[in-house]
C-alpha cells in the first residue's frame, strides 16, 4: 500500500476524482436512493393514499411478524456462529498447506459456485421421503427396508436446524475464502516471534493470529450478517411460502402470493423497511461490539 504524501495531495487537487465518482453517485441516487425513498413512502401510505401508520400497526399486530422475526433471528444467529467457526477452522487448516491442499481448496469452493436455485434443487430432491438422503441412509445401513425419515415434515424446531445445516453447507466456502485471503497476508514474523517466546500453537493462534486477522474477520462476518438476515429463497424452495415465515419471505409473500389484497403492496414495503432497519441495527451493533469503529477511525482501508 503506498501512502499519499502532501505533494501528491496538492497535485491531485483537481476535478478528476469528482468526475470519476460522479457516475457512481448519480447511479446510486437514481437506482438506489430513489426506490428506497419510494419504499419508505409507500410503507406510510394508506390504501386511499393518505399518510398513515396503519401499515406498521397491521404488520406488528395482526400478521405473523413475531414468528418471522424469531425464525430469522434464530436461523441467522446460530448459522453465523457455526459458519464462522467452521470457516475459520478450515481456513487455518488449508493455510497450513498439506499434500493435496490445492485440490481440497478447489473442492471446498464448489458449493459457492452452485446457485441458490441449484442448492434448492439439491436439497429438495434429497430431503423428500423418497429422496436421495433416505436412499443413502438405507444403503449405508442406517435405515431398514421401507423405513424413511420425513425431514421436511418434522417439528418447526428441527426444520429450523435443517435450514441452518443447509445454509452452512453452502456459505462456509465463501466465508473461508475471505478468511484465507486474510491469513495469507499476515506476516509470518509475528507468529514466529510468538513461538520463539515460548507460545504453543493455541496461544499463538489466540494471541497473535486471531487479533491480526480481526479486520478480515469483521469483513467476513458483516457481509454474512447482512445476507443471513435476508435468507428466504432456500426456505421457500423447500417448504413453500407461509410454512416458516421469515422477514424477506414476508416481503415476497405479500408482493407475489397475496397480491390481490388492497394493501399487499404497502405491507410488503413495510416489511422491507422493517427488515432493513433490523439489518442496520444488527450491523451497527456488531461493528460497535467488535470494535470496528475504533479501527475505522484511522482510515478506511
Amino acid at each position: 500500500m503506498n501512502t499519499i504524501n502532501l505533494s501528491d495531495l496538492k497535485k491531485n487537487r483537481n476535478w478528476t476524482p469528482y468526475f470519476l465518482i460522479a457516475p457512481t453517485v448519480i447511479y446510486y441516487i437514481f437506482f438506489w436512493l430513489n426506490p428506497v425513498i419510494t419504499s419508505i413512502y409507500s410503507s406510510f401510505k394508506g390504501v386511499d393514499g393518505s399518510f398513515t401508520l396503519q401499515n406498521y400497526i397491521t404488520v406488528f399486530t395482526t400478521t405473523s411478524f413475531g414468528e418471522a422475526f424469531w425464525n430469522t433471528t434464530f436461523i441467522a444467529g446460530i448459522s453465523i456462529v457455526i459458519e464462522f467457526f467452521v470457516a475459520l477452522a478450515l481456513a487455518l487448516l488449508i493455510n497450513k498447506k498439506f499434500k493435496g491442499s490445492a485440490i481440497f481448496l478447489f473442492i471446498a469452493m464448489i458449493p459457492m459456485a452452485i446457485p441458490a436455485v441449484g442448492v434448492g434443487a439439491i436439497w429438495k430432491t434429497g430431503l423428500t421421503a423418497h429422496g436421495w438422503m433416505n436412499s443413502l441412509l438405507y444403503y449405508l445401513g442406517f435405515l431398514a427396508k421401507g423405513e424413511k425419515l420425513f425431514f421436511l415434515s418434522g417439528t418447526k424446531f428441527s426444520i429450523l436446524w435443517l435450514i441452518i445445516i443447509i445454509d452452512t453447507w453452502q456459505v462456509v466456502p465463501s466465508m473461508m475464502i475471505i478468511l484465507l485471503a486474510g491469513l495469507q497476508n499476515l506476516s509470518k514474523e509475528a507468529k514466529e516471534a510468538g513461538y520463539i517466546f515460548g507460545g504453543n500453537g493455541l496461544t499463538v493462534l489466540r494471541q497473535i493470529t486471531i487479533p491480526m486477522l480481526k479486520p478480515t474477520i469483521i469483513t467476513a462476518v458483516i457481509l454474512r450478517l447482512i445476507s443471513a438476515i435476508q435468507i428466504w429463497l432456500i426456505v421457500v424452495m423447500l417448504f413453500g411460502f407461509d410454512r416458516i415465515p421469515l422477514l424477506v419471505e414476508r416481503v415476497i409473500y405479500y408482493k407475489e402470493e397475496l397480491s390481490r389484497l388492497d394493501n399487499s403492496y404497502q405491507i410488503a414495503s413495510t416489511y422491507a423497511v422493517i427488515t432493513s432497519v433490523i439489518v442496520t441495527i444488527a450491523a451497527v451493533v456488531y461493528l460497535k461490539v467488535s470494535g470496528a469503529f475504533d479501527m475505522g477511525k484511522k482510515e478506511v482501508m
Binding site: N12, P17, T24, V117, T128, I252, M301
Partner: protein, 353 residues
C-alpha cells in the same frame, strides 16, 4: 528407542486422523452434488424407486410377451434379479411413448412391431436398449415454457451487469485509489451500506421506475437493478487493486507522452486484469443467480433462474426434472468460474496455488 517409536506412532496417528477428517469433509461437500448429477440422469421410473439407484443405469433389458390386453413389456430389475411388468397394450405407439417418457428409452414403433412379429415363432422376445442419458435435459427444455430464450436473456443480463458495474465501479475505484477528495471515507462506507436494504425492496418500486424509462421486463432493466449491489463490491475490490499498481508506472508512461486516458488503458487496465476478472466473476454470479428481484421485475420475459425456480417449486413429483434444471443452472457458473480461474489465482497469489 521406545520414545522414538512413540513419536512415530503419534505422528502416524495424527496424520491418519487428519486424512480421515479431510476425506469426510470432501464427502460432505461432494455427496449432495453427486446425487444431484446422478438424479438428473435417472429415468422417471428410476426416480420413483426407493431406494434411488446409486448409479444411473446406462441401458435396460426388456422382455416382450403376449399379454392379456395385447403385448406385455417387462423390464429387468437388477436389484430383484427378475423381470417386472411395465405395460400391457396393443397400441405400439402408446408403448413407444411410455418407454420414452417413463424409461427414457427411445425405441421406434417399427422396431417394436418387428419384435412383436417374432412372437409368432417364440413365446418371449428379449432386447436391450440404451437409455437416453440427456432425456431429462431435453424434457426440461421441452416442457418448460421458453427456457431457451430465458437462458439467452440471463446471459444478456449477466453481460450487461458486468459492463455496468465494471465501468461505473471501476472509475470510482480508481478515484478511491489515486486521489484524496472531500467525502471519500463517507462515500466508501455508504457504498457498502446499499446492501443493507433488501434487494427485493429495491425491486418493487423499480417496477414503476423502469417502466417509466421503458426498461421494465427487459434484460437492461434487470442489470440496472443487479448492478446496485455489484458496483459497491467492484469499487472496493478495484480500489485495492489500483492501490497495488505503482503510480510510478503511470507517471513514466505520461513522461513518454501518453495521455492520461491512454496511460490508463494501456498500463493500468492490463495490470489490473486479474482483479477486474474477479469483479466480473462476482457480477456474473450475482446476476446469474438472482431470483427474488427477477421474479418481481419480469412478467413475460423471465430469466433462467426464474424458470428453474418455478420448475423446482412445481416439480414435487418429478425430482429428476428438477435435478436437471438445477444442473443447467449451475453449469454456466461452473464453466465461467473455470474460465476465469487463472486470473483469480493471480490475484490471490498463493491462495489457490
Amino acid at each position: 528407542m521406545i520414545k522414538m517409536w512413540e513419536n512415530t506412532i503419534s505422528k502416524f496417528a495424527k496424520k491418519t486422523l487428519f486424512s480421515i477428517f479431510i476425506t469426510s469433509l470432501i464427502i460432505i461437500i461432494v455427496t449432495p452434488l453427486y446425487f444431484l448429477i446422478s438424479l438428473s440422469f435417472l429415468s422417471s421410473r428410476e426416480a420413483y424407486q426407493f431406494p434411488l439407484p446409486l448409479v444411473p443405469a446406462i441401458s435396460s433389458e426388456f422382455k416382450l410377451e403376449k399379454g392379456e390386453k395385447g403385448y406385455m413389456l417387462s423390464i429387468y430389475e437388477k436389484g430383484d434379479r427378475e423381470y417386472q411388468n411395465m405395460i400391457d397394450t396393443k397400441d405400439m405407439e402408446k408403448m413407444s411413448r411410455y418407454m420414452r417418457l417413463q424409461l427414457s428409452v427411445d425405441v421406434s414403433i417399427e422396431k417394436l412391431e418387428n419384435y412383436i412379429s417374432k412372437l409368432d415363432q417364440q413365446n418371449e422376445v428379449y432386447f436391450k436398449s440404451y437409455k437416453g442419458l440427456l432425456h431429462n435435459y431435453k424434457t426440461f427444455f421441452a416442457i418448460t415454457r421458453d427456457a431457451v430464450p430465458a437462458l439467452i436473456r440471463s446471459l444478456q443480463v449477466a453481460g450487461l451487469t458486468i459492463l455496468i458495474s465494471l465501468s461505473i465501479g471501476g472509475m470510482a475505484g480508481y478515484a478511491f485509489a489515486r486521489y484524496i477528495f472531500i467525502g471519500k471515507n463517507a462515500l466508501k462506507v455508504s457504498v457498502l451500506f446499499v446492501r443493507v436494504f433488501p434487494a427485493v425492496a429495491i425491486a418493487m418500486p423499480m417496477v414503476i421506475i423502469l417502466a417509466s424509462i421503458g426498461f421494465y421486463d427487459k434484460p437492461v432493466g434487470l442489470s440496472l437493478v443487479y448492478s446496485v449491489g455489484t458496483i459497491a463490491l467492484t469499487i472496493w475490490v478495484t480500489a485495492s487493486i489500483f492501490l497495488g499498481i505503482p503510480v510510478e508506472l503511470e507517471e513514466a508512461a505520461q513522461i513518454f507522452g501518453a495521455t492520461k486516458l491512454r496511460t490508463f488503458l494501456t498500463i493500468t487496465v492490463p495490470l489490473a486484469l486479474p482483479g477486474l476478472a474477479a469483479c466480473s466473476m462476482y457480477a456474473f454470479i450475482g446476476a446469474w443467480n438472482e431470483t427474488a428481484s427477477a421474479i418481481i421485475l419480469t412478467q413475460f420475459n423471465p430469466t433462467f433462474a426464474v424458470v428453474v425456480y418455478q420448475s423446482v417449486l412445481g416439480a414435487v413429483d418429478q425430482v429428476n426434472l428438477a435435478a436437471a434444471g438445477g444442473i443447467l443452472m449451475a453449469l454456466p457458473m461452473v464453466l465461467f468460474t473455470l474460465f476465469i480461474r487463472k486470473y483469480i489465482n493471480q490475484m490471490w497469489g498463493g491462495v489457490t496455488a
